[in-house]
């Protein structure tokens, strides 16, 4: 895309494509600024636009993926703590502090865009400590430490609102709703929540209103008549949206954008859901009135996507199983295609889903090499959900709205992607315990029995942690943003984490499957069967992290057994067995407080972080090296890296209760150049889902380009990759994250 010249910018009429090109260039500029001010960003791009340089306050903090990062705060704002620790806890204090941030949060208006607003600073970064020290959990800590659990205590968002509530009520209507129920639910918990919610809405209204004023001010100074008109419209739309619900497609998008940006500011929320359904009535109405062309709709959507990377589902069934793909589904894809920036858009693929939409999605993957869209096995996630005892109609309403996850909009609290069991860490604990017991004959089979015992303990301890979270979260950091658009929190006066919504299905994911499967296979083959090494000697070698005279040869010996994912190997059998064990243990019983748990297999990109906690493992992995990614085999699992072998094993290990175990796949552009390449990959995707798969994250990447970009990220500032469930600029990633992506692509 070309940079618009001064002359072009001042021409009377700019085309939509020229304006999209300008949005793209602005996005690259923002990204460059972030590289310079923040450094590596190992997470979702989020559409963050840094505050103006004079307002920036850099701080050192810990990123969402647990690595030290620089974050940028707003100089003008500071927290008003309500606790000796300096923290801010409970709905009233959180709400009033967030309101103050909204009232100070700088405005953002790009005259080239049809929409106003940008996420510029994160409220969470001001909250230190994030968890109230009065609410400690020493009774849980020994197990957390022992198994290196990711227990989810204090986890935020990761469930999905129902945006139709907001699109119907508008902020004025939501405020009225709070006022109405405030008089009905008069208990302390409810009243505190209402105070927090009301403060949040008032802050939001202030912020939106300021954009209306700012747009009017900018319009008065704008010389280009087309852009001036655009700014006048932005001013009118936003002055209206302070209270009223949206009426047009553009207003609807602007409303959703406000809501999503506020979610990012509040607690990095990113669930969107079915944008093609939510906005379809607006689109149809505008089209019927001849107020909107498809080209204009694409432009509005591009104006949206450049500011928000939220997770959304296109197409897919309604509650009766009828596919809901519509014109808007294609326009959303088209807008993302024209932008070519990080975007998290999933295309539904099922028995009744649109072949045309899938085909278009694959074509865009081939054309853009930007990891977009991803593909959603909607039949398997909805049918799997019924195994928790729910009707299929409800399963179909559970939609894709986060990194690897689905939720029922506005009705379900999930803790998706927040709670993990590092299978490799549990394995390490089990191995140490096993080898310290001299009464047991060492063998892979006996070790598995010991592993089962420890994994059961880890699952139970995690369940207790989730109960603890659900007991206290509302009074620590309530979901003031998501509560506003859920069915129940306002009506009941209860935070979504504390009885506010209808369904509680808590996500519990396993991480490191291949690491453990390959370890069992290596032990079985090299120690039990071939007797090349004693268990004692192996333990010493592991403890020494494969150092010493024979260390490297032993490591290669353990590493060179046929691997998980190869197809038909003992390691495949171990992988299937471990995945089944994990699933069975999660489904053995609910949490002690009776909450349903749903198993999945997904490490996010935290497999790097989780690896830091684990010593050398018998699969030839070094201490502190990353554990395996999601349900994927480790790179090098087959010499030919056959994508079909990958798809087979990931389909087989699915837990099958409605949560996912996503297939991460990197394809060479050589596939793309085949005359039937699109059809081939369409077939591949469909077959994986027919075999039981739930989600596909696909990258089509040129090896040479990724290697060159790894060496010098500045040479490829526009290279986008799907890191895992999320996509990002490759150059924004830390060297460790880049290495992970490179290793996957090279398969070595």
């Amino acid at each position: 895309m070309h940079q618009l010249s001064e002359v072009e910018c001042h021409r009377t009429v700019l085309t939509f494509d020229e304006r999209i090109a300008s949005l793209y260039q602005t996005k690259l500029k923002h990204t460059q600024e972030k590289w310079e001010a923040i450094g590596s960003m190992d997470f979702d791009d989020h559409g963050l636009v840094l505050p103006e340089p004079e307002s920036r306050l850099p701080i050192q903090t810990i990123s969402g993926s647990g690595v030290p990062i620089t974050d940028i705060l707003l100089k003008e704002y500071s927290i008003q703590s309500n606790h000796p620790s300096g923290g801010v806890f409970g709905p009233r204090a959180v709400g009033s502090n967030f309101r103050r941030l909204l009232e100070l949060h700088p405005t953002y208006i790009d005259p080239m865009s049809s929409l106003a607003g940008a996420y510029r600073v994160n409220f969470m970064s001001y909250r230190n400590p994030a968890w109230n020290p009065d609410c400690a959990y020493p009774h849980l800590e020994p197990q957390i430490k022992k198994y290196k659990l990711i227990p989810g205590i204090g986890a935020v968002q990761h469930f999905c609102q129902d945006l139709s509530i907001g699109l119907t009520l508008g902020w004025g209507g939501i405020l009225d709703k709070i006022h109405r129920f405030r008089t009905i639910n008069v208990d302390d918990e409810a009243q505190a929540l209402y105070d927090g919610l009301e403060a949040t809405v008032l802050g939001i209204q202030n912020w939106i209103g300021r954009h209306g004023d700012e747009a009017a001010r900018m319009a008065a100074q704008e010389e280009n008549p087309q852009l001036r008109q655009n700014l006048i419209e932005i001013a009118a739309i936003n002055r209206k949206l302070v209270t009223d619900p949206p009426a047009t497609f553009r207003e609807g998008l602007q409303w959703v954008l406000w809501y999503q940006i506020i979610g990012k500011m509040y607690n990095m929320g990113g669930s969107l859901g079915r944008i093609d359904q939510l906005l379809y009535p607006f689109y149809q109405r505008d089209k019927f009135k001849n107020m909107l062309t498809d080209e204009e709709a694409v432009f509005h959507l591009a104006s949206y996507l450049v500011m928000d990377t939220s997770y959304m589902q296109l197409g897919g069934p309604d509650e009766n199983g009828v596919d809901q793909t519509n014109e808007l589904s294609f326009l959303v894809l088209e807008a993302a295609h024209r932008l070519k920036i990080p975007a998290n858009i999933g295309v539904s693929v099922g028995k009744n889903s649109s072949e045309e939409l899938l085909r278009r999605g694959v074509e865009i993957q081939f054309a853009d090499h930007a990891g977009m869209p991803k593909f959603l096995g909607v039949d398997n996630t909805s049918e799997g959900f019924t195994r928790n005892g729910y009707p299929i109609e409800l399963g179909r309403q559970r939609i894709y709205s986060g990194c690897h996850w689905c939720a029922i909009p506005g009705r379900e609290y999930t803790m998706n992607d927040c709670v993990k069991i590092n299978l490799a860490a549990v394995f390490e604990t089990a191995l140490n315990d096993f080898l310290s017991d001299e009464n047991v004959e060492p063998s892979a089979e006996n070790l598995f029995a010991c592993y089962e015992k420890h994994l059961r303990c880890a699952v139970q301890a995690t369940a207790e942690c989730m109960d603890f979270h659900l007991d206290h979260m509302y009074n620590d950091f309530p979901e003031l943003h998501l509560d506003l658009l859920c069915h129940g929190p306002i009506e009941r006066g209860r935070d979504a984490s504390h009885g506010g919504v209808e369904f509680y299905n808590l996500c519990l994911d396993a991480a490191g499957l291949a690491t453990v499967a390959d370890s069992f296979a290596a032990l079985e083959q090299r120690l039990d069967r071939e007797k090349r090494l004693s268990w004692k000697k192996l333990k010493e070698t592991l403890d020494a992290n494969w150092s010493g005279g024979e260390g490297e040869r032993v490591r290669l010996m353990m590493r060179s057994v046929p691997r998980y994912g190869h197809g038909g190997t003992p390691a495949d059998d171990w992988g299937i067995r471990i995945a089944q064990l994990f699933t069975d243990l999660v489904k053995e019983k609910p949490t002690p407080h009776g909450f349903n748990m749903i198993p999945g297999i997904f490490s996010w990109a935290a497999n790097i972080l989780y690896g830091l906690d684990v010593g050398a493992t018998p699969n030839g992995r070094f201490a502190k090296a990353p554990i395996s990614h999601g349900p994927n085999p480790d790179p090098g699992f087959r010499k030919d890296g056959a994508p079909t072998a990958l798809a087979n094993i990931v389909a087989v290990v699915q837990p099958g209760y409605g949560n996912t175990a996503p297939l991460q796949i990197e394809l060479d552009p050589g596939t793309v150049r085949l005359e039937n390449g699109v059809q081939l990959i369409v077939g591949y995707i469909r077959t994986h889902f027919e075999l039981g798969g739930t989600q596909i994250n696909l990258n089509i990447v040129d090896k040479q380009k990724i290697l060159a970009a790894d060496k010098d990220p500045n040479r490829y500032p526009d290279l986008v990759v799907r890191v895992t469930g999320f996509s990002a600029y490759f150059g924004s990633l830390s060297p460790e994250f880049r290495r992970m992506v490179v290793d996957r692509i090279l398969q070595e």
């Binding site: 490297e552 040869r553 290669l556 010996m557 590493r559 060179s560 197809g567 038909g568 087959r638 030919d640 056959a642 994508p643 079909t644 072998a645 798809a647 087979n648 596939t671 085949l674 039937n676 059809q679 081939l680 369409v682 077939g683 591949y684 469909r686 077959t687 027919e690 075999l691």
Partner: protein, 302 residues
């Protein structure tokens, strides 16, 4: 029944339509100097050695009954003439520096691997037999193809065509697509390039063209070998085959594809301890190849 296989490639997408598994059989009557599967030429199993992976542990020296491996001043030397490809050293080589090209597998073992991807074949994919020359193991190839058909799997055979027609005939009932190489029309030049004349190949091509079976002739366009007028001559031959086919009232498709030369096989030659003569050949830019193709198509209305 058993056969000698040097690779089974899943998600094979360049050897026939759709997603396929390609089974590579050992042994080829030709010896094209540019061959990108040199480990498939000999009928016997061979030891491959990749020095980049060798960690110098010396385990191969200790286990080899024939003294194939020598370690001289940190250099791992192979006395290949003594090697029986017994594979003992490979079992001890955990770095993967040593490998055997050519495993003896039963039809059932091949099918077990082939069937792993059966679900992916249903959308226009299937199984391809390649090599080497699969018809040098005609009975084994036939058995695999027959088993594939029993599983309703689409089958393709990639052949150089230099085998007795009676062997080709045996596989036709179980073959859905023939992929056949045509390299040069001039027999002397053919012999010079690949070590064998081409009369039998051309005769087999004519006979195949008379079968009610889709055929894709493939010509690897090799600089200095067949990158000029030779292609026009081949085009004349393909046109003749097409006309013959039309006269016989055969509706099945007959295509002619060109394959661009690449130099990716260098490491394989190194692993076999052989010289890679094609390393010196220039690469033809894709645009030049396309231009050539257009010219040939214009002249022959292909």
């Amino acid at each position: 029944m058993t056969g000698k296989i040097f690779h089974i490639q899943r998600f094979s997408i360049h050897d026939g339509p759709g997603i396929r598994t390609t089974v590579f059989l050992k042994g080829c009557p030709l010896s094209c100097f540019w061959c990108h599967n040199p480990e498939g030429i000999s009928v016997s199993s061979e030891l491959l050695y990749n020095p980049d992976k060798c960690i110098g542990c010396g385990a191969c020296l200790q286990c080899c009954p024939n003294g194939v491996h020598l370690m001289e001043t940190d250099q791992h030397i192979l006395q290949r003439q003594n090697c029986t490809a017994c594979g003992k050293c490979v079992q001890e080589c955990f770095s993967g520096a040593l490998e055997i090209a050519g495993l003896t597998l039963s039809v059932e073992e091949v099918m077990q691997e082939v069937l792993r991807d059966q679900a992916f074949y249903s959308r226009g994919g299937g199984v391809t037999l390649s090599g080497g020359e699969p018809l040098m193991q005609a009975a084994f190839s036939r058995a695999i193809l027959q088993s594939c058909k029993e599983h309703a799997i689409h089958t393709a055979v990639e052949t150089c065509g230099d085998v007795p027609w009676r062997q080709i005939e045996t596989i036709l009932p179980y073959t859905d697509l023939i992929l056949m190489d045509l390299k040069l029309l001039d027999s002397d030049r053919h012999r010079a390039a690949v070590g064998r004349p081409n009369e039998r190949i051309l005769q087999n091509a004519r006979l195949l063209a008379q079968q009610e079976l889709p055929i894709e002739f493939r010509t690897p366009v090799i600089p200095t070998v067949n990158d000029g007028e030779e292609l026009l001559a081949l085009a004349g031959f393909v046109t003749e085959l097409k006309q013959m086919r039309t006269r016989a009232g055969i509706a099945a498709e007959l295509r002619w594809e060109w394959l661009a030369f690449h130099r990716l096989a260098g490491d394989k030659y190194k692993s076999l301890g052989r010289a890679y003569r094609a390393a010196a050949l220039p690469l033809m830019p894709l645009s030049q190849l396309q231009e050539l193709r257009k010219r040939v198509e214009r002249e022959y209305f292909l």
